[in-house]
Amino acid sequence: MEFEGTETVPVERSAAWDLITDPAVLTTCVMGAEEIARVSEDRYEGAIRQRITGIDVALDGEVRIEERDRPEWLRFTGVGTDSRTGSRMDADVTVTLTDEGAATELAYDVDVTFTGRLATMGSRVLRRQVRANVETYFENLVDRVEARA
């Protein structure tokens, strides 16, 4: 499933870039993220545990920055596996950062695929869930910046 969106953060582009690549920020802004660590310049490892009413999902995974052009855009991929349900999630995300005076617009393009038992939940349920996650991430990011300003 693919979707896209935009969010504006009230900081300049290079600061916005640092924010989105900071593992501490990732951990606080991703719903249910635990212990995301940057294991090398371009690789992050961590776990995401989410409890929604229907199911419990615990993804152990890795995020890798595949391409980047600081501070304009980056493309990263994520792989998460849930051993209990034998499911796997693959994400391919592109974020483009555009100057808007003292603020920065983040435009994201997300392509997510599920395999295994999670995929049987169907896109009706998963789509909304994944989108809610991505939106919450960017909203949390904005909240975090605004709380500091």
């Binding site: 979707f3 929604i52 009413t53 349900t85 034998g86 049987t120 909304r128």
Partner: protein
């Protein structure tokens, strides 16, 4: 009340409890070892268990608790117990008086789901496509919960916090929903939904509850299912219609504003643009029907 190792699917080793009082159910929820799940009609939960997406060490089946079942109306306030099934609600006089409820029950799947599926299961699961939620939102319902810290009530609008996410605390069970029964003399309600052929689930649904005074709209409450992370109120429509003549023209104009409060996604049921159009149409239909039932002639 059976304590045993056979679970509802007969497959795993989960414990299965069938308490007969709310207190006993709460105790089971608190004391069960490991991950515990409440089951009522099982129409949503058991398919997930079968698919391996829900894995529980214990199930607490609340369907045998007499105190959780049934519909009462007292001093104009209606109470629907959590384990009341769609079929039971549809058969109750309340569903004739508040047509939106009867209409929502009637469109749910098939006989089996309506006979076993419960109001509490619909509320507790937090799935915005469930049909009963829009009428309950339009009725300004609140949700009763019982848990280790006693009982509490929460407006449905605050209980449903996101897609498949609710404000239910650990160890709590939903006991009932309550709402003011709209004035039978001056009010009307309706639920209109559309489902793609073969899917069964709502692409979109709209419930309207309207009260009239002297041919004008005194209050209008409109709620939409399946087009946001939770069932949402169409505040723009409500605002435009309040105080207006209860006419077809006013309804048509206000209904065009329905897309302002929804957030549909692109999925196999259709594009966001299609769903916005659909919601405007369903809003108009449900409002016209609700006004007609309130004694108006739009």
């Amino acid at each position: 009340m059976t304590d045993g190792t056979a679970d509802a699917t007969g497959r795993s080793e989960a414990d299965y409890y069938r308490p007969e009082t709310v207190e006993a159910a709460c105790r089971r929820l608190r004391d069960a070892d490991g991950r515990v799940r409440i089951v009522a009609g099982g129409q949503t939960l058991l398919p997930l268990v079968r698919q391996g997406l829900v894995d529980a060490d214990a199930f607490v089946d609340v369907s045998a608790v007499p105190g959780l079942s049934g519909v009462t109306v007292e001093d104009g306030r209606a109470t629907v117990g959590a384990t009341t099934t769609y079929a039971e609600l549809a058969d109750h006089g309340l569903a004739d008086r508040v047509a939106a409820l009867g209409e929502a029950c009637a469109v749910v799947a098939d006989r089996q789901v309506r006979t076993l599926g419960t109001v509490g299961g619909a509320v507790a699961h937090g799935d915005p496509t469930f049909d009963l939620l829009a009428p309950l939102r339009a009725l300004d319902a609140d949700v009763g919960l019982a848990g280790p810290d006693g009982r509490r009530r929460v407006p449905l609008s605050e209980f449903l916090i996101g897609h498949l996410r609710t404000d239910r605390h650990e160890g709590e069970l939903v006991t009932d929903v309550t709402f003011d029964r709209p004035d039978p003399e001056r009010s009307g309600s309706a639920y209109e939904r559309h489902a793609a052929a073969g899917s069964g689930r709502a692409t979109a649904g709209v419930a309207a509850v309207v009260t009239l005074v002297d041919g004008a709209v005194e209050t209008a409450r409109v709620a939409c299912s399946a087009v946001a992370d939770t069932p949402v109120r169409a505040h723009a429509v409500e605002g435009d219609l309040t105080g207006e003549a209860a006419s077809a023209e006013a309804v048509a104009a206000a209904s065009e504003r329905a897309p302002a409060d929804i957030d549909p996604i692109d999925d196999e049921a259709g594009s966001p643009a299609y769903k916005r159009r659909l919601v405007a149409t369903l809003t108009e239909r449900s409002l016209l029907s609700a006004i007609g039932r309130a004694g108006g002639s739009p």
